[in-house]
């Protein structure tokens, strides 16, 4: 697996940008300027960037409410992302989607989904459309270990396999379904083991290693594009923050959290880049500074943006008319 230096550095910068973006949201919640539920993916940057860096721009991806990072990694405009989360009219969904329903259709990101589970059957529909249109693209859905226990998971895998759809299901196993520990809720140790029940390949991948994620998704996407049918990948990772901002996390110990933080995917990737001579410390610092500057510009953009006008409160709520899948 060989990737050009430019791509590797872009992956690093995106990971840093996602971390900064999410941490700035945490600070905003703490400061009381960002109301509502916010679910952050701090610690899961290797998942976001590893998956998206392996996909084509024309592929489609659906995700959960912890996947701001997925949409950023698809190349979404960080200004419009932040504006959306703050309910501003300049946001991707004119401020009406917010954190939990943020979509960037221009990036083929159908969006975060507040209901965990149904995104898997939504993705099934996208995959069916791609197959009917004979397009070489694939439809990817991200979901957590909790959603893997819902009926939609089994229904979607079964139907995707029956119809041999170009669908890739990616379970982001961060070990906690809200407050329920994976070990207490799952009879097997790998969600990926369930793939065998639907006659498809299932892979377990270290979700804290961006290159391992990239390689697994690249090879899986290649297999799906070759018409070999759907697949299931399980990315084992950890979330560093609570289920939502403000979650006191009585279900895990500070020691567990510290242990998870030792597997920091950004530190791991930067070490790999330095060890292999791909980048110097100075080059990485430049990228960190660029990401920080872009975040600051997004913060200022959001602050200057207006809220949607009251007269538009009922527009954009119900889709009217039929539109072709692009």
């Amino acid at each position: 697996m060989e990737l050009p230096k430019e791509k590797l550095l872009e992956m690093y910068k995106t990971m840093v940008a996602i971390r900064g973006f999410e941490e700035s949201l945490a600070a905003a919640v703490t400061a009381g300027v960002l109301p509502g539920f916010v679910h952050l993916g701090v610690g899961q940057e290797a998942v976001h960037v590893g998956v998206c860096s392996a996909l084509r721009p024309s592929d489609w991806i659906s995700s959960t409410h912890r996947d701001h990072g997925i949409i950023l990694a698809r190349g979404a405009d960080i200004k419009r992302m932040r504006a959306e989360i703050f309910g501003k009219v300049t946001g991707y969904c004119k401020g009406k989607g917010g954190s939990m329903h943020l979509a960037a259709l221009d990036k083929h990101a159908t969006g975060c989904n507040g209901i965990l589970g149904p995104s898997q059957t939504i993705n099934l529909g996208i995959a069916l459309a791609l197959k009917k249109k004979k397009q070489a693209d694939i439809a990817v859905v991200m979901f957590g270990d909790g959603a893997a226990h819902r009926g939609e998971f089994h229904e979607a895998l079964n139907l995707a396999a029956c119809w041999k759809l170009p669908a890739l299901a990616i379970c982001v196993n961060n070990h906690y379904a809200i407050s329920v520990c994976f070990d207490d809720a799952c009879a097997v140790d790998d969600i990926a083991a369930r793939a065998a029940g639907y006659g498809m390949p299932g892979l377990v991948v270290d979700g804290n290693d961006v290159m391992a994620v990239h390689e697994a998704v690249s090879e899986t996407a290649k297999s799906i594009r070759a018409g070999k049918g759907p697949a299931l990948i399980e990315l084992k990772t950890a979330r560093w923050r609570g289920h939502f901002e403000g979650d006191p996390q009585p279900y895990r110990t500070p020691e567990q959290l510290e242990s998870d933080k030792k597997k920091d995917p950004i530190v791991r990737f930067s070490t790999q880049l330095l060890e292999q001579g791909v980048a110097t410390e100075a080059e990485l610092k430049v990228l960190q500074a660029q990401a920080g500057k872009e975040l600051q510009e997004a913060i200022e953009f959001t602050e200057k943006s207006a809220y949607p006008p009251l007269e538009e409160i009922y527009t954009d709520l119900i889709y009217e008319g039929r539109r072709e899948v692009r």
Binding site: D190, D209, A216, E275
Partner: protein, 328 residues
């Protein structure tokens, strides 16, 4: 009679070769079943205790659920990391406890991790991996009985315990790692999903096991030489156009053409420098070492690698001794 150690790797048999090749998933339920049958085999031979490596899935704990055996089953007291280092730590502890033998469930990679610290304690490796050159495809019950033979008759082990060779990787003369089957040098890259299957990046291959009936990179040597390597004999292959092209099974269902520029045997007296730098080095099929420019690495063959219980020999010897004949 000595106790027997059991190291069952919960991560074996699940890597990316299920996708890029046609490897079967070896799920942990099946490993539980195998350990259960191993324990029943050990129990039938009167082994007093089996000492298991703990793991996050609980292969050993699940295996003994509802199992009615006279022997004691215990677990090593060790910190679990969920990494191959767990197997290395467990092997060291079991060796220090002087168990009669260590039964492993895994592939070549698992046994490599165990061989780092098992010392002269005999191994009985059961295949639950992907490419399985070192371990045996064997029914767990028979493996348990054979391990019981070894634990019960340590003074006779010369009859059924054989010494396997190992390859040693050195940096500036210092041993930094080892392999039980192959050391593969490829173009620089990332460790990523660890498993090695892409032959287009190959540069050099060192083997201490090569046989036409093998799978993996060991097969390339086996198929080009046509006969298995002798004890204390290694093989070196330089990969590149201009020589022979070998069609070899690299992974389950994955058969590739590999251009071999030169090939030769080497003895345990030689220390061969790795000539392609920077490099990514795979040990027993798993990408392990990133070698930066300027590093000087070499590979040599040590005929005194891990000691391994030969299951057919152990069972035949025990039968000849009448160990399975019950007294009226």
């Amino acid at each position: 009679m000595k106790p027997v150690g059991i190291i069952a790797n919960p991560a074996s048999g699940k890597d990316i070769r299920r996708l890029v090749a046609y490897g079967s998933v070896f799920d942990n339920h099946e490993k539980v079943n195998i350990v259960r049958r191993v324990i029943l085999g050990l129990n039938s031979m009167g082994v007093p205790e089996a000492i298991c490596m703990p793991d996050f899935y609980g292969i050993g704990i699940r295996a003994i659920e509802g199992l009615d055996v006279a022997m004691k089953i215990s677990f090593l007291e060790m910190e679990m990391e969920g990494h191959q280092d767990d197997s290395t730590v467990a092997a060291r502890l079991l060796h220090e406890m002087r168990v009669g033998c260590i039964i492993t469930l895994g592939g070549d990679g698992t046994n490599r991790a165990v061989a780092k610290t098992c010392g002269d304690t005999p191994l009985l490796p059961i295949s639950t991996g992907t490419n399985n050159v070192f371990p045996f495809m064997v029914e767990g019950t028979l493996a348990g009985i054979a391990a019981g033979v070894a634990a019960r008759n340590p003074s006779e082990e010369g009859r059924y315990v054989k010494q396997a060779p190992r390859l040693e990787v050195r940096r500036n003369g210092d041993l930094i790692d080892l392999a039980l089957v192959d050391v593969v040098v490829s173009k620089s890259g990332f460790i990523a999903s660890r498993a090695m299957w892409d032959v287009s990046s190959l540069k050099e291959i060192f083997l201490c096991k090569a046989d036409p009936e093998n799978i993996g990179f060991s097969a390339i040597g086996g198929l080009i030489f046509g006969v298995p390597l002798a004890q204390a004999q290694g093989a070196y292959l330089s990969i590149g156009e201009g020589g022979k092209s070998v069609r070899a099974p690299i992974a389950p269902g994955l058969i590739c053409s590999v251009p071999v520029l030169t090939y030769r045997h080497f003895s345990s007296e030689e220390e061969i420098p790795i000539s392609h730098m920077p490099a990514l080095i795979a040990l027993d099929g798993e990408r392990e070492l990133i070698v930066p420019p300027g590093d000087a690495l070499s590979v040599s063959l040590n005929p005194k690698g891990p000691r391994v219980v030969d299951i057919p020999l152990a069972l035949r010897w025990a039968a000849e001794q009448g160990l399975f004949i019950e007294q009226p």
